[in-house]
Structures are given as structure tokens and as C-alpha cells.
């Protein structure tokens, strides 16, 4: 099989998540492939719109559920094009690519998921994987968003605000722009919804740093603040995982676009990542 060739997949459903993001539910035309296809949370696929181009997108559904789902933001030429596509249309998918989060290694531990904006997409895969398998002691989700309209998977988030504790999961939400809907949410869940930034959500939460892993995904500026917060709590750099983004063409370590680092340490985000530990960031310049 040519590694650059994608597998046709049908769009089963398109759902508006926000004015900018849509959720695409996809199923491969090849039934065997639907059976075979599996991945780790944190991995991504390359979406192919033949004749227009390809772009990398994280798998946002958990591997415990099928069909697969992708949350795609309208960011430019190609993503605008796919936003116009409808149920029944066919796109190409190749992958999964990248290393993903080390889910087996983290079994039995606490997971602290820290998501900013679109960073919610790959972490949703972790969240539902953890809930579905029940292999993790407790899961925190700290989710920072701009405004009420920008909350990705809003129904799920509100559902987990209400019923999360029964599933071993604490969801907390920070928003920046005030609105009646946010104030209403804040009244309902005063201990878990607040106006502020994602690091504000750490307040009042205790977790045993020797039994916890932090998984971060968000805009580049967020990493510094979140990592400082975690290090202040004495979480080991080896327990801090983050997923990173770079321009990608091939996804398989050939095209050179995602290469970062210096003469002592060079990494391919597509193959060595996109998930890295904070140790990796300390030893590879330009990673974050």
C-alpha cells in the first residue's frame, strides 16, 4: 500500500459544535478497515479532500467507540472546503499517525487533562477512553474557553458537570467573556465554573503528584502557564504530557516540515510526537 494514499470514508454526520467548529463522524467504505482501525488517544489522521489537499486532524473520539469522529475548525482554505461538505460525501483518511498518549502506562493513576480552546479535541478522546475503560482512578478536566459559544462538546461538558462524579470525573470550566449563559452555568456549578483562565481551575483541587499525570493541549501560549502551575505542585516533568502542532505534509517523517530542535536533539512532531513530555521540551529547543 502506498503510504500517501488515503482510504475513502463516508461522512455519516456533520454537527455544528460552534460557529467555527464542526464535528464529522466518519466510516470507511472498506468494512475490514472499520474493523481493523484502532488508535491511541492523542494520535491524528490526515484528512484528504482529493483535488484540494490534505491536513492533519486529531482523532477526538475514543478508541473504545466507533465510528471515528473529527472536530474540525474552519481555519483556512481546506478546512473551509470540508465545512461545506455534507452527510454522504466521501473524503480520504490516512493514519493513525503519531505516538499518542501512553494510556497503558498511566493505568491506575489520576489524569489531569488541561485543555485550551481546540485542545479539547484530542483530550476528549482521552476523557471518554478513561471513562469507558474505568482503568484510571480519577479524571480531572480543566477546560479553558473564550466564551459560551466556543465551548466544544457543550452538551457533554454540561452532562459531566452534572453527573461526572459518578463516573470518576471532575469537570471544571473557565471562560473569559461574560454572558448570561455563562453566569447561569456558574450559578449552577459555582465550585466548578468560573470566569478566568484555565490555570484558575487548579485552585482548590488536590491530587497526589506521585499518582497523577497531566495531559495538556491548547494554544502555544497556554503551555508555559500550565506547566509552571504543575511544576509548582511538584509534578515531575516526566509526568507532564503535552500535544504539539506543526505544519505537516506527509505525517510519516519524510517531508521535513514538522522537524524541530537543534544539532543535539531533533524531533519529528509527526512521528516522535505529537505527544511529548516536559523532559522532551527541556532537551529539544523549539518544541514549545
Amino acid at each position: 500500500m502506498n503510504p500517501y494514499e488515503s482510504h475513502p470514508a463516508r461522512i455519516l454526520e456533520v454537527r455544528d459544535l460552534t460557529p467555527r467548529e464542526k464535528l464529522f463522524t466518519l466510516r470507511f467504505l472498506d468494512e475490514d478497515l472499520n474493523e481493523r482501525f484502532t488508535f491511541r488517544p492523542g494520535q491524528f489522521v490526515i484528512v484528504d479532500v482529493p483535488g484540494f489537499g490534505e491536513f492533519p486532524i486529531s482523532l477526538c473520539s475514543p478508541p473504545t467507540r466507533s465510528p471515528i469522529q473529527l472536530c474540525i475548525r474552519k481555519a483556512g482554505r481546506m478546512t473551509k472546503f470540508i465545512h461545506k461538505m455534507k452527510e454522504g460525501d466521501v473524503v480520504g483518511i490516512r493514519g493513525p499517525y503519531g505516538n499518542g498518549f501512553p494510556m497503558e502506562k498511566m493505568e491506575g493513576s489520576n489524569l489531569v487533562l488541561v485543555a485550551g480552546g481546540l485542545g479539547m479535541a484530542p483530550l476528549r478522546s482521552v476523557l471518554w477512553y478513561a471513562i469507558d475503560t474505568g482503568k484510571y482512578e480519577h479524571v480531572w478536566l480543566f477546560y479553558g474557553t473564550k466564551a459560551y459559544e466556543d465551548i466544544l462538546f457543550r452538551d457533554e461538558i454540561i452532562h459531566l458537570l452534572k453527573h461526572g462524579s459518578a463516573m470518576g470525573c471532575t469537570v471544571k470550566l473557565a471562560y473569559e467573556v461574560e454572558s448570561p449563559s455563562c453566569i447561569y452555568l456558574e450559578q449552577g456549578f459555582s465550585d466548578r465554573v468560573c470566569r478566568g483562565v484555565v490555570t484558575d481551575l487548579f485552585r482548590g483541587e488536590e491530587f497526589d503528584v506521585n499518582r497523577a499525570y497531566a495531559l495538556i493541549c491548547g494554544p502555544p501560549v497556554m503551555y508555559r502557564f500550565v506547566i509552571r502551575e504543575l511544576l509548582d505542585r511538584k509534578l515531575s516533568p516526566g509526568r507532564i504530557y503535552m500535544t504539539l502542532e506543526r505544519r505537516m505534509r506527509c505525517g510519516v517523517g519524510k517531508c521535513g516540515h514538522c522537524v524541530v530542535g537543534t544539532s543535539v536533539s531533533m524531533k519529528y512532531i509527526c512521528q516522535d510526537g505529537p505527544v511529548f513530555t516536559y523532559w522532551d521540551a527541556l532537551s529539544t529547543r523549539g518544541l514549545i
Binding site: 502506498n2 503510504p3 500517501y4 494514499e5 488515503s6 482529493p50 483535488g51 484540494f52 489537499g53 490534505e54 475548525r73 481555519a75 483556512g76 478546512t79 466521501v90 480520504g92 502555544p220 502542532e245 506543526r246 505544519r247 505534509r249 506527509c250 510519516v252 517523517g253 519524510k254 517531508c255 521535513g256 516540515h257 522537524v259 524541530v260 530542535g261 537543534t262 544539532s263 543535539v264 531533533m266 529547543r285 523549539g286
Partner: protein, 334 residues
């Protein structure tokens, strides 16, 4: 390794015999510049060339090529490798191919590169360094593998090293053209290699190179050179180990499209650009430094990503010299 001798008077016949294998490409001189071109008459070959402008990578990883064709809604791959003979590669370029191999043959292998590599016979030839060469300091001035045959110049012919089964086959099929190697030939071979080793004018001290560069991340020398660099990307195009590519879909007519890839350069501003306009290497300084880091990265399995061929120096319009930049960076630390 097996060594045999090709006497001068048999060179022409040997060269013609290669046509049985495939189209033969060899260095020729055109308008002051050497390049690999299809050759039918051995007299056309510039046997004593210094370096071609584009390295042999162009045979395996094309400047521009269609990788997939969209027909009736389906992708078809565009594999069309022809049997080819690359005659007259210098040792540094053979090392350059080995570095590309590590990238393109690593799983999942690039099918285009792989099929061309498999269908191409590589014949090396010895050379004398000019003022740009610094392969000796990188250990790429002699190839131990990565070729089928390697021809070393002797006063009355060529000492041939056989590097592969295919190389053996060619020698076997043309047995009457070759002779056994004599002690005198070996002495001549040794003398040539010694003379060559002493002819290098440029040296890249590689001791601690990778660490030194990393420590000098903020050295003002980067800025000094980034300011005179034109960001033309020539150095990337001519480098035997640069292999970044960009991909673009193009409609041929209303029903068919091609997915093309072409050489890309890390000097281009959009190389590190992602959605929303964020750029991970926003300044020319970032991009200039990145290229040096990439070239000086040391991989335990294949060495540096630079083989010291001197192309980037010879073809840089701003006359920036690779070794000089690295020397000054080192100097700025002391």
C-alpha cells in the same frame, strides 16, 4: 570487497556495456556547470568534474513530481521507475544518498524513491578535492558501501571496488574487460589516496560540533549571517541531503487532478507557518539557524546531515561559507 582492474583501453567498452542495464547518466560540462545528463559516448563525460550543481538526489527524489493521480474519484499511484545507471558519483554524494535512504526507505518507505533506488545502478568514481570540499573532516571522503562499483583512477586504468551482488554480475558478464590487480596497482591506488587526503584545503572541526552549536543558540554570529543571507533557498536545492517537500493538488481538467510534490526550502517564510498565522520560525534568523542545526545534527546510524560536498558554498549568491559560519560560531563561544 573484491578488487579488480579496468585497463584504460577497455573503459569505452565497459561504459557501453552499461547500456544493457538502463539509461546511463554521467557528469558532463555545459556552460561552465557540471550536471548529470544522459550520455551515450564516453568522450562526453567530464571524468575529472568537481561537483554537479544538483546532486544525484534528483534521480530519486525529483524537483517536482506527481505522486498521485485522481481519476474518476480514485487515487492512482504514479510509479514509473526506469532502469538507470548513475555513472561517476563521488564518495560524498554516495554518502548523501545513504542519508536520504535513512529517511525515505525507513518504514513506511516512500514507494517512489524506493523503486527508483532499486532500479538504479550506482557507479562511483574517485576525485580530487577543490577549495570547497571538506568531506574528509566528516569521514565521507571514502565510501565503503552504497555503490555497486567504485572506480579509482590509476595511471593506466581504474582500480574497481565491487560493492554489491549487482556489481559482481556486471563484472562477471564482462569478464574479458577486467584484469587481476597487481601489487603495482595497489601501490598506485595507495599513492593516489594519500595525495588526495593531503589536498584538502578546508576542514570542519567536528569535535563537539553538535554541542557547541546548541550552546551557541544566541550567538550574534547567527544574526550577522542571517542579515546577509538572501533567503533564496539555493543552499537547500543543491544540498545532497536536503529533502523537504511541499505538496499541492492541481486540477488537470474537470475530472482529473494530480497531487504534486516539489522541493521545499526551510528558508521560505511559510515553512513553519500553521493555521491562524502562527509561525514557529518567524524570522530569517530562526530559519537560517534551523538549517545549520539540521545539517549538523548527528544521527548515530548515519552521521551528520552534511557530507561536505561544498555545493552550498559554491552556489550561494551571498557567498556565505558553511565552514566559516560554523568556525565563527565556535569562536563566539570562546
Amino acid at each position: 570487497m573484491r578488487y579488480i582492474k579496468l585497463p584504460s583501453e577497455n573503459f569505452g567498452k565497459f561504459f557501453k556495456s552499461l547500456e544493457a542495464w538502463g539509461s546511463v547518466y554521467a557528469p558532463v560540462k555545459r556552460g561552465g556547470i557540471y550536471s548529470f545528463q544522459e550520455v551515450h559516448d564516453p568522450a562526453e563525460i567530464a571524468l575529472d568534474y568537481n561537483r554537479t550543481m544538483l546532486p544525484p538526489k534528483k534521480f530519486f527524489f525529483r524537483p517536482k513530481e506527481a505522486i498521485l493521480r485522481l481519476k474518476n474519484g480514485h487515487w492512482e499511484e504514479n510509479l514509473e521507475a526506469e532502469p538507470t545507471v548513475l555513472f561517476g558519483l563521488h564518495s560524498c554524494d554516495i554518502h548523501g544518498l545513504k542519508i536520504l535512504d535513512r529517511v525515505y526507505l525507513d518504514e513506511p518507505a516512500d514507494p517512489y524513491y524506493k523503486s527508483r533506488r532499486e532500479k538504479t545502478l550506482v557507479i562511483g568514481i574517485s576525485c580530487m578535492p577543490d577549495e570547497y570540499c571538506f568531506c574528509k573532516s566528516l569521514g565521507t571522503h571514502f565510501a565503503m558501501d552504497g555503490f555497486d562499483l567504485f572506480l579509482h583512477e590509476l595511471p593506466d586504468g581504474w582500480l574497481v571496488r565491487i560493492g554489491s551482488v549487482r556489481g559482481h554480475e556486471i563484472v562477471w558478464e564482462n569478464g574479458e574487460l577486467f584484469e587481476e590487480v597487481t601489487d603495482e596497482d595497489l601501490a598506485n591506488f595507495k599513492e593516489f589516496e594519500e595525495r588526495r587526503a593531503n589536498s584538502f584545503q578546508k576542514e570542519l572541526p567536528q569535535e563537539g560540533l553538535a554541542d557547541m552549536l546548541d550552546l551557541a543558540y544566541n550567538s550574534p554570529v547567527w544574526k550577522k549571517y542571517a542579515d546577509i543571507c538572501l533567503a533564496c533557498g539555493n543552499c537547500n536545492m543543491v544540498c545532497p541531503t536536503c529533502r523537504c517537500y511541499e505538496v499541492c493538488d492541481r486540477w488537470v481538467d474537470a475530472y482529473s487532478a494530480v497531487r504534486e510534490r516539489r522541493y521545499d526550502s526551510c528558508f521560505m517564510e511559510n515553512h513553519g507557518l500553521v493555521a491562524g498565522g502562527h509561525n514557529f520560525r518567524p524570522t530569517r534568523l530562526d530559519r537560517f539557524r534551523h538549517r545549520y542545526y539540521c545539517k549538523s545534527y548527528f544521527d548515530p546510524s548515519s552521521g551528520y546531515n552534511c557530507v561536505g560536498c561544498g555545493r552550498c558554498d559554491e552556489f550561494c549568491p551571498a557567498k556565505i561559507e558553511h565552514v566559516k559560519v560554523l568556525d565563527e560560531i565556535r569562536g563566539s563561544l570562546e
